[in-house]
């Protein structure tokens, strides 16, 4: 079988597709690409229409060799790319010959980059998804981040690359990233002081940011809520632990939690938050559920026109 040999894995490289559904009640998070738009862009460019899995690289530092002729494209956080030590344009589709070695390195922007290979990474799906959930040791390659020396199976190529998709390049964040959120049902239980802190504080992304969630500093959102019975968490939930510093929950979140939540960040802004490096300034603005739906319709259109 065709394979990709990993010479150097980097700090947190894992197999991801768009994630799994239907497993929350088992305590298994959806996982999936932290930047779903970057995933879709790469799938589109290679003509993948079956949610083919890619390699997600956090702060990419990857060396890999393909055992077969294939096409690749890299999406998400910008990188530098060499093929057999020759520097090439990292933002376009490349034809790779069997035995050629790729070296992919992060630049100074964003966190998650995606290496897509024609045919997709063909590890065994778990609950209909190849996404890795490292905490649950599920999916991907043995449920874990890749190590130096790993070999990944690659599926048969069934389609020709389509075209470059420059529209999906990561735009450099301005000085402040604005996260739109929809107030949840505990919103009104927070004190007015906490809510105005949420809306008026300029927060910063802390180094406690990973696939589970992103912790922010700068504001104290003490809820005044004594205790809460454990309940489901959702993508983008703004969770406030007793120390008052909010955590926005992302793909590998725990499926239930007992911390109060004033609301949830809309999904398109979650992807932008996932790409934000520590130190990035963050502000929150409140949006109605109807407005969030409208934004999602626009996104849906955007994604579907790429996967038809």
């Amino acid at each position: 079988m065709s394979a990709l040999k990993i010479g150097q894995a980097g700090i947190a490289t894992s197999v991801q597709d768009s994630g799994r559904a239907g497993t929350l009640q088992l305590g298994i998070p959806p996982s999936g690409a932290m930047d779903p738009y970057a995933l879709v862009s790469g799938q589109y460019q290679l003509g993948h229409t079956h949610d083919e899995a890619a390699l997600e690289m956090a702060y990419a530092d990857l060396i890999a060799t393909s055992t077969h002729d294939c096409h690749i494209v890299i999406t998400g956080a910008p990188v530098t790319l060499t093929i057999d030590d020759q520097g090439v344009d990292p933002r376009t589709i490349h034809a790779i010959n069997a035995g050629q070695t790729l070296r992919i390195r992060a630049t100074t922007m964003g966190i998650y980059s995606y290496l897509h290979i024609s045919g997709g990474i063909a590890t065994e799906p778990v609950f209909q998804s190849r996404s890795t959930s490292p905490r649950e040791v599920l999916g991907g390659l043995e449920g874990r981040y890749l190590r130096d020396g790993d070999t990944l199976p690659i599926g048969p190529t069934q389609s020709a690359p389509v075209r470059d998709d420059p529209l999906l390049e990561l735009s450099p964040p301005g000085s402040t990233l604005t996260l739109r959120f929809v107030p949840g049902f505990q919103h009104d239980d927070f004190s007015p002081t906490a809510i105005s802190a949420l809306l008026e504080t300029e927060f910063s992304v802390t180094p406690s940011a990973n696939r589970m969630g992103v912790k922010l500093s700068g504001g104290d959102l003490h809820s005044g809520i004594e205790s809460l019975l454990s309940e489901a968490t959702c993508y983008g939930a703004i969770q406030v632990p007793p120390d008052g510093a909010p955590i926005v929950l992302l793909n590998d979140r725990q499926t239930v939690g007992g911390y109060p939540k004033p609301g949830a960040v809309i999904s398109s802004d979650c992807a932008r938050l996932a790409q934000a490096r520590p130190g990035q300034k963050i502000r929150f603005v409140s949006r109605s559920a109807a407005e969030a739906d409208r934004i999602q319709w626009l996104e849906r259109h955007y994604v579907e026109t790429r996967l038809q």
């Binding site: 009640q25 088992l26 305590g27 649950e136 040791v137 454990s230 489901a232 239930v256 999904s267 849906r300």
Partner: protein, 216 residues
């Protein structure tokens, strides 16, 4: 979309939530991707843009009225979980007995002679929140959670008890070890316990524990 019932957790409340969940799975078949029951909540997850908020909300409120009168509940037999209660595998057992002025045998009797109800699943695959712990054993979580709680640890916190299905960080007090796996991908369903189950813990000997593969 989340339904919150303004009531204290109780098996009756959970059974109502289970009944509404079942109806929702039928009614929204195709657009509903996940549903999660909490102590007093039912959270429904839909495919993006495949639901209308006001309609789902109206439907849910209607179900609350309809389902309240549902008494056709057939309690299933309790799931029995064997446990070795021994300080060698339970770092908080002696501490708990001292703290509560009980003997270790008293703690074991109190914990294992209670029938528990499964209120919620989550936190980790196979993890199930069980209640209600006898009041003599009620104790708060550790101020600083342990970095590693071994798989199979039988634990208590506040009014709850649970078994850690896999090694994970955790702040609950550890009073025993259960060699019975709670989550196995080769089984259907993969999880041993589901919301609405009743559960009992059964003390086992060290010999039986090690014979069952409990060496953790």
């Amino acid at each position: 979309m989340r339904l919150v019932l303004e009531a204290d957790p109780a098996p009756e409340l959970t059974r109502t939530l289970l009944a509404i969940e079942k109806s929702a799975q039928r009614h929204f078949n195709g657009s509903l991707t996940d549903s999660v029951i909490g102590y007093a909540t039912l959270t429904l997850f839909f495919k993006p843009l495949q639901f209308q908020r006001d309609r789902v909300e109206a439907w849910l409120l209607e179900q609350v009225d309809l389902t309240k009168s549902d008494t056709h509940y057939d309690p299933s037999a309790a799931v029995i979980l064997p446990v070795l209660y021994h300080p060698s595998v339970a770092p908080d057992l002696e501490w708990l007995a001292d703290e509560k002025g009980l003997s270790i045998d008293d703690v074991i009797a109190l914990h294992s002679e209670t029938t528990y109800f499964a209120y919620a699943t989550g936190f980790a695959p196979g993890f199930c929140y069980l209640g209600t712990l006898p009041h003599q054993l009620v104790t708060p979580r550790l101020a600083t959670p342990r970095n590693k709680v071994p798989a199979g640890s039988v634990a208590i916190a506040d009014l709850q008890t649970a078994v850690y299905p896999c090694e994970s960080p955790g702040g609950w007090r550890l009073i025993g070890q259960c060699p019975q796996p709670l989550f196995d991908l080769n089984n259907t369903p993969a999880n041993l316990l589901s919301v609405g189950d009743t559960v009992r813990f059964e003390p086992m000997s060290e010999a039986d524990f090690y014979a069952m593969g409990g060496a953790r």
